[in-house]
């Protein structure tokens, strides 16, 4: 039963990654990034690694996305109108 959840989460991870790469707008890609980190945290928890899960929860789901959003706000992206 845990195998079904594990493979379903891997399928969801692949869908999220392909949507992040192939979308047109940059904001949609940034919005999907913390979901990628969240699925990664759940996979680490299922694989019995709480330390790596703590580090991934802080870095991938938290700080990286915040830095990307602030960097996009500093540039001239989307200000042409």
């Amino acid at each position: 039963m845990i195998d079904i959840i594990f493979h379903l989460l891997f399928l969801f991870l692949i869908i999220t990654a392909f949507f992040m790469v192939f979308t047109k707008d940059l904001s949609n890609s940034v919005i999907t990034l913390p979901l990628f980190g969240a699925i990664l945290v759940i996979i680490f928890v299922i694989l019995q690694a709480p330390g790596v899960a703590l580090a991934a929860a802080i870095m991938t789901a938290g700080l990286t996305t915040a830095f990307f959003v602030i960097t996009i706000n500093k540039t001239e992206y989307g200000r042409n109108e």
Binding site: F12, T32, L35, V45, P50, G62, A66, I70, I72
Partner: protein, 87 residues
Amino acid sequence: MLYFILAIVLCAILTFYRVIKGPSLPDRLVAMNSIGVMFLLVLVLLSYYFERKIFVDVALVYGVSFFINVLIMAKYLKKPGKGGVGD
């Protein structure tokens, strides 16, 4: 316990449809917030399935980090020139 986890993961995959096909940016933000809270519940239930209480700490840190993330997105990810949230 595993049937509940499977049901919540299926709900999250259903909600991801709104992230793919949202007409505007706030729709995607609301769907992203919902998927985040669902994954927090999955983490808490997994802590009860494996019976290791250290996993509750992972859920707590993940919740704090995700809330700060949503706030920063709603503050900075806007089209400039029409007056922001803080103005």
